[in-house]
Structure formats: structure tokens, C-alpha cells
């Protein structure tokens, strides 16, 4: 049962990555693309990690995965801000 949930979560995460990439390719301007990007960063990555956490063997690995999730969340938020600011300047 846990296995199935995990697989579902992982596949859903991958699907968000695919949609994020398509958005990056097809959306008209920078800010829309940023929006698409954050979808795959937050949701795609989050679901993927959640799925993998369900499969991890020990606590340490699960904690590391959690840490990576938080890191990517925060970092991508900051990075998106910085990129938007930068493009506003230039």
C-alpha cells in the first residue's frame, strides 16, 4: 500500500516537472515562465521527495530528504525573487 502511494506521488511529481518545462517553453513572457518554474520547483520536487521519503530505509536519509526539500523551496523562492529583480533592473 505504502509502495503504491509512494509511486503515485513520484509520478505526480514528475508530471509537474514535465508541465513546468512545457510552461517554460511555451509561455509568452518572463514572469509567466517564472510562475511555471516555481510550480515544478515547489510541487514537482515536493511530491517527488515525499514519495521517496516513504521509501527511505532509515530516519537519517528521510531527514536529509526533508532538508533538501526545505532547501530547494527556500532557495528557489529566493532565486526567483533575485531573477525577477535582476530582469527588472536590466
Amino acid at each position: 500500500m505504502l509502495d503504491w502511494i509512494s509511486t503515485f506521488l513520484i509520478l505526480a511529481g514528475v508530471a509537474f516537472f514535465v508541465s513546468g518545462t512545457i510552461g517554460l517553453l511555451r509561455l509568452p513572457d518572463l514572469y509567466c515562465r517564472l510562475h511555471a518554474l516555481t510550480k515544478s520547483d515547489n510541487l514537482g520536487h515536493g511530491l517527488l521527495i515525499l514519495g521517496l521519503m516513504l521509501r527511505s530505509d532509515d530516519l537519517l536519509t528521510a531527514l536529509k530528504l526533508l532538508l533538501i526539500w526545505i532547501l530547494v523551496l527556500t532557495a528557489s523562492a529566493a532565486a526567483s525573487q533575485l531573477i525577477a529583480q535582476y530582469s527588472g533592473r536590466s
Binding site: 532547501l71 532557495a75 529566493a78 525573487q81 533575485l82 529583480q85
Partner: protein, 322 residues
């Protein structure tokens, strides 16, 4: 099904590598080349991970995908703006399009030749032989991670000389004195990033250093992470990047080679041979060496990033050393 998927994955990764390499070479500005180069480092790390080489993947992730970008950017920033090329164009031009064709052809020929020779000369028993030797000598080395055993025990002499190479590169950069003391603007996002990124980086560096004895990790990865902490500090407006100044800094610069030489000469004069650790303490000695090597590598990389020694006049608050 599985082998087919692996081949798909391999093909995709190779396509990504070649695409990025080509684009980085052909990019219109150096700035864009650098972005592409960072992406190239990232994909390279992926390739190493796929090849089941986590040690190399770690180093590539830390240095190739992370620090190199910052180093290249600071080089670009310190460059006098009137120069658009690294080398002024007397003699290093390769003759336009035909030169490019010639380079492409010769590189491809060499690559084909290597591929052919590898296929022809592939000999699993031979290339696996040394790995077997390492495996059987591993329990004498004091650590259980074969990569660390090779780097810090079996071939410690190579590592010692590599630290000397790093030092030479740093001294070369410092002697050119190019980097000016850049003071970056304080940006709220960068400052808040620093608040949590720097402690995390230092923590991870410590973890990598510790884990290196029995799992992938070690001084080079830890040093790169520690250096990244310094770079973040600098990006967030700390001109010193968390480095000490003066004599302390200079001692830290050479501490990696210093500890190696101390160990080496100690065992040598004790009649055991250069760098022949007493087996009982080998693990502890290796950790000690790695600790100082990590500090030296971090200081070296940060100084390479800064381009010159931080000046004395503004001393950073205590405890901000990365």
C-alpha cells in the same frame, strides 16, 4: 525493459552534455558561456551519479556546478571593461572558420582514436586488478572508504602535491594582485539567504569531513562547501568573506601541506618511511590531516574568489570565520 531504460537515460544525458558543451563554446558573451558552463557541471555531476561514482559526483557538484561559476563570474567582473578577450589578439587567433574546422576535426579524430583503442584494449581483469589490491589492503589503511584510503593513505603523496598545486595557483593569483577590494551592495534577499545558508553549509562541510572515513565525502568536498560559505558571506556584503587577516590567514593557507609534511617528516625521521602512518592510529591521523586540508582548501578557494588578501583595517566580528 530495465537495460533499455538505462540506455535511454544514458543517451539523454550524453545529448545534454554535448549540447551544453557546444553551446558554451559558441555563446556570444563570456557571461552566457559561464551560465552554460555551470549547467554543464551540473549535468556532469548527474553523469557521475549515474556511473555509480558518488565521490566524483560530490566533488563535481560542489566545485563544478557550485563554486566554479562564482569564481568565473568574479574573474569576469574584475576584468578591465575595455578588454573583451582574455588574451589580446596577437598570435592566439586560430585562423577563423578554417581554424575551427581544423580543431573540430582533430579533436574528433583523437576522440575516435581513444574510443577505438578503448574498445580494442578493454581488459576487465587488468583494470580491475588495482581495485582488488586496494580492497585487500583497505583494512590496513585506517578507513573503510576506499576512495579516502587511496587519497590519504596509499597515494597520499599525490594528494600532498595536489595541495601544493592549489597553493601555487593561489600564490600566482595573489602575485598578480588583480582583484580589487570589492564591496558589494547589501541586498535584503542575499542577507537573509546568508542567515540560514552559511550555517547549513558549515554543518554540511563538517558532516562531509566526518563521513569521509567510511562513505563518500572528504576534505575536498568539505573544503569546497566551506569555501561556498565564504562566498555567500561576501555576496551578502561582507568584504572579508569571513576570513581572518594577516599571519593567521597565511598559516591557514599552508596548513594543509603543513600537516602533511609534519606527518611525513615525523614518520620519515622515525625510520618508517615518508607518510607511513603507524597502523594503529592511521584513522585518527587521516582525520587530522583532512581537517587541516579542509581549512586550507576552503581558505585557498575563498582567496581565489576574492583575488587578493583582505585588508587589515576592518576586522570582522569574532566568530564569523566560515
Amino acid at each position: 525493459m530495465n537495460t533499455l531504460s538505462w540506455s535511454f537515460l544514458d543517451i539523454l544525458l550524453v545529448i545534454a552534455l554535448v549540447l551544453l558543451a557546444g553551446a558554451a563554446l559558441r555563446a556570444r558573451s563570456l557571461r552566457q558561456s559561464i551560465i552554460l558552463f555551470i549547467a554543464f557541471g551540473l549535468v556532469t555531476a548527474l553523469v557521475w551519479a549515474r556511473l555509480r561514482a558518488p565521490d566524483v559526483a560530490l566533488a563535481e557538484a560542489a566545485i563544478g556546478a557550485g563554486l566554479t561559476g562564482a569564481l568565473l563570474l568574479t574573474a569576469l567582473r574584475n576584468r578591465p571593461s575595455e578588454e573583451s578577450r582574455l588574451v589580446s589578439n596577437n598570435g592566439m587567433r586560430w585562423g577563423g572558420r578554417w581554424g575551427n574546422v581544423a580543431i573540430t576535426v582533430s579533436v574528433s579524430l583523437v576522440a575516435l582514436g581513444i574510443g577505438w583503442a578503448v574498445l580494442y584494449g578493454m581488459n576487465d581483469t587488468q583494470s580491475g586488478r588495482l581495485a582488488g589490491q586496494v580492497g585487500s589492503a583497505l583494512e590496513l589503511s585506517g578507513v573503510s572508504n576506499p576512495v579516502t584510503a587511496v587519497l590519504l593513505n596509499f597515494r597520499a603523496y599525490d594528494t600532498l602535491l595536489e595541495l601544493a598545486v592549489l597553493l601555487a595557483a593561489l600564490l600566482g593569483i595573489l602575485s598578480l594582485g588583480g582583484g580589487r577590494a570589492t564591496h558589494c551592495t547589501v541586498d535584503p534577499i542575499a542577507t537573509s539567504l546568508r542567515g540560514w545558508l552559511v550555517p547549513l553549509l558549515i554543518l554540511t562541510a563538517g558532516y562531509q569531513l566526518w563521513v569521509g572515513a567510511h562513505a563518500p565525502g572528504g576534505a575536498f568536498q568539505a573544503g569546497a562547501l566551506l569555501a561556498a560559505a565564504g562566498v555567500v558571506q561576501h555576496l551578502a556584503g561582507r568584504a572579508h568573506a569571513g576570513l581572518p587577516v594577516g599571519a593567521v590567514l597565511r598559516v591557514l593557507m599552508v596548513s594543509g601541506i603543513g600537516i602533511f609534511m609534519t606527518m611525513g617528516l615525523w614518520t620519515f625521521l622515525g625510520g618508517r618511511g615518508f607518510l607511513a602512518y603507524p597502523q594503529r592510529w592511521a584513522g585518527e591521523l587521516i582525520l587530522l590531516i583532512e581537517l587541516f586540508a579542509t581549512l586550507a582548501i576552503a581558505v585557498t578557494l575563498i582567496l581565489c574568489y576574492l583575488g587578493s588578501e583582505p585588508e587589515r583595517r576592518r576586522i570582522t566580528p569574532a566568530g564569523s570565520k566560515p
